[in-house]
């Protein structure tokens, strides 16, 4: 048995008291069996650059081994199905029964049911009680293995193993990085509409492992993930003073961001995680400031008699998109990250707000209000190519998956018993689905891929 030449993958250790120590070491072990030469490129490939992609039929067998093996395979299957890019085939249609997940499959059995790709796996315990998960992804029509990997981890992190496997399958078959091993911070909302209690909460991107981060005694709004650390910035009314805070997720350590003489709001990190851009309310106007988290220096970026807010950096850190009503209604503007050369980029009917730059850098997502409706859309950074992805009574606040392929946002429903829920939608405007949360939920913000 030859060892695949891929580099060893390591998942950084983190001292996570509240979440639990995460120690997920992935060891790449077995690429090759039966003397088959590994191809450098798989033949099965999903082109996701087109508008509406026909989902790829994929057969995912129950993983062999203990009970959690089935659970892991089920999470892999759900991730791939929920992306809208894959169509897992009903297991009842499977012909070959996999007894040894490391053995060469009978490809003709999988061709008959038109599976383009096949996933087999096994889960076992190591002598020290760790969970060992291994899987192989096969190209059915090319009759060859695309990837085979093995991971070992603390059993309580079994869902992360599943997400990592799903990310690898996604990446091998689409050519783009996955987004399943990531989390979402949001605002959990309980109680009647006129007495809402809001708590910061965090969950896996698929809605699992939900927990709250604040107690609900203070109003909290607009949490945003750090691109580099397990840290969020958000706004809180603690002590009756609305301002922006920084919270370390794993230690619960909290600090105020800057010492501003008024309400600070709408914070967001710079791509290097070292700065926070936010709005400061000054009388009837709101202006955008940048604060360096190391030097604590603040820089004023906008200075106009208007509401300038919701700033969001371009992924290269060189520009900032924001909303302003300096021209009348709210519109989107792009300026250099030192505040110079602001240019309006939105010119459609209605008003535009909550711009968020895609991590790919090519488009900006926004909320648009027109004709009494709230829409979520994207436009290129120069304002061209506006495309609406979803519309209705009230859609607001898009956030990007780490690979820039999917957006999450919240949709509010009207009336005394109404409230917001989280939804995700593909960049193409297809595959809209609700993310199940125990209560009403708003202000989602997607984390980067976990490490």
């Amino acid at each position: 048995m030859r060892v695949n030449g891929n580099p060893e993958l390591r998942f950084a250790k983190r001292s996570a008291r509240s979440i639990g120590r995460l120690c997920l070491a992935a060891i790449l072990v077995f690429g090759l069996v039966f003397g088959i030469v590994m191809p450098s490129h798989a033949e099965v490939r999903l082109d996701i650059t087109k508008g509406n992609v026909e989902p790829l039929p994929i057969a995912i067998n129950d993983f062999a081994g203990e009970k959690v093996a089935r659970d892991i395979a089920a999470v892999v299957e759900a991730d791939l199905r929920n992306s809208g890019l894959f169509r897992p085939i009903e297991k009842a249609a499977f012909i070959e029964k996999i007894s040894d997940p490391n053995a060469l499959p009978r490809f003709e059995d999988w061709r008959v049911i038109n599976a383009q790709a096949l996933v087999n796996g096994r889960v076992s315990r190591t002598s020290d009680g760790r969970l060992k998960a291994e899987f192989r992804l096969w190209d059915v029509f090319g009759a060859e293995q695309i990837i085979g990997q093995q991971f070992s981890t603390d059993p309580k992190h079994w869902r992360r193993v599943a997400h990592i496997i799903a990310d690898l399958i996604y990446e091998k078959l689409t050519g783009e990085k996955g987004y399943f091993d990531s989390r979402v911070v949001f605002v959990d909302e309980t109680g009647p509409k006129d007495k809402r209690v809001k708590r910061l909460a965090i969950m896996d991107q698929d809605g699992a492992n939900i927990r709250t981060l604040t107690r609900g005694s203070d109003l909290v709004l607009t949490p945003r993930f750090s691109p580099t650390r397990q840290e969020i910035t958000y706004m809180s009314y603690d002590g009756g003073q609305p301002r922006v805070y920084l919270l370390q997720i794993e230690t619960g350590k909290r600090e105020t961001v800057g010492n501003f003489p008024g309400m600070t709001f709408a914070p967001r990190f710079s791509p290097d995680g070292q700065k926070i851009v936010l709005s400061l309310q000054q009388g009837g106007d709101a202006n955008i400031y940048l604060m360096d988290l190391r030097s604590r220096n603040t820089t004023r970026l906008t200075n106009s008699a208007s509401i300038d807010t919701a700033p969001s950096f371009s992924p290269d850190g060189r520009q900032i998109v924001f909303e302003s009503d300096r021209g009348g209604r709210q519109q989107l503007y792009v300026m250099n990250s030192d505040g110079s050369n602001p240019q309006r980029i939105s010119f459609g009917t209605g008003s535009y707000s909550t711009p968020v730059w895609s991590p790919r850098g090519d488009v900006i997502a926004f909320t648009k209000q027109t004709g009494g409706k709230f829409l979520i859309g994207v436009m290129k950074a120069d304002g061209s190519g506006e495309r609406i992805l979803t519309e209705g009574y009230h859609n607001e606040g898009p956030t990007w998956s780490p690979n820039g392929r999917v957006m999450m946002f919240f949709r509010d429903s009207p009336g005394a018993t109404g409230g917001p829920k989280l939804y995700s939608i593909d960049l193409t405007g297809y595959h809209e689905r609700q993310i199940a949360t125990p209560s009403f939920a708003s202000d989602p913000a997607w984390s980067p891929l976990l490490d």
């Binding site: 009647p192 509409k193 006129d194 809402r196 809001k198 109003l219 709004l221 607009t222 009756g240 609305p242 309400m263 709001f265 709408a266 709005s279 309310q281 009388g283 009837g284 106007d285 709101a286 509401i307 807010t309 919701a310 909303e323 009503d325 209604r329 709210q330 707000s353 909550t354 909320t367 209000q369 009494g372 009230h394 607001e396 606040g397 509010d412 009207p414 009336g415 005394a416 109404g418 708003s442 202000d443």
Partner: protein, 165 residues
């Protein structure tokens, strides 16, 4: 000892004690003459007097922080009342309806609170008596889904704080 003495002598404490006595009375039996308690049963100079007889809130048009003629009338009465009872500091809360995005509504609520404060100052209320805060769309008072509710939520509310000195 000195501190305790001045505390006991404080007029605000006296006012609070009186207020409590009146509330206790009203709960147990109606007074013979409601005029003793001021108009509408509100003690002159109380939060209730301010709310009921002066009007503690003004309303705004959609996406606007301009004070309407009606709003100016309410604020004129607020300024007169605050001149008569100069010991109250106030907090002006600015609010927006739900038909806007969160960040913008925070700023819009602040703009409404600032417009209200500026008008009160122009009518002689000392600026240092007035604190402002915005709640954006986070604290609706009316929760139905039409214009009748949204218009009640687009508001600036003047709240009396504990009297000073």
């Amino acid at each position: 000892m000195l501190t305790a003495k001045s505390f006991l002598m404080s007029p605000s404490v006296v006012a609070v004690v009186l207020g409590l006595a009146l509330v206790g009375c009203a709960e147990k039996k109606l007074p013979d003459n409601s005029g003793q308690l001021g108009l509408n049963g509100a003690t002159p100079g109380s939060q209730q007097d301010f709310t009921v007889n002066v009007g503690d809130r003004v309303f705004f048009e959609t996406d606007s922080s301009s004070l309407t003629i009606t709003a100016r009338g309410v604020l004129d009465r607020q300024a007169q009342w605050l001149a008569k009872y100069p010991t109250y500091p106030v907090t002006v809360e600015g609010h927006a309806d739900e038909r806007g995005t969160r960040e913008y509504n925070l700023a819009l609520g602040a703009r409404r609170a600032a417009a209200t404060r500026d008008y009160l100052v122009s009518k002689g209320v000392t600026g240092s008596r007035i604190r402002t805060i915005s709640y954006g769309k986070e604290r609706p008072v009316a929760v139905c889904n039409d214009i009748s509710c949204w218009s009640q939520n687009r508001r600036a509310v003047t709240l009396l704080a504990a009297p000073t000195g």
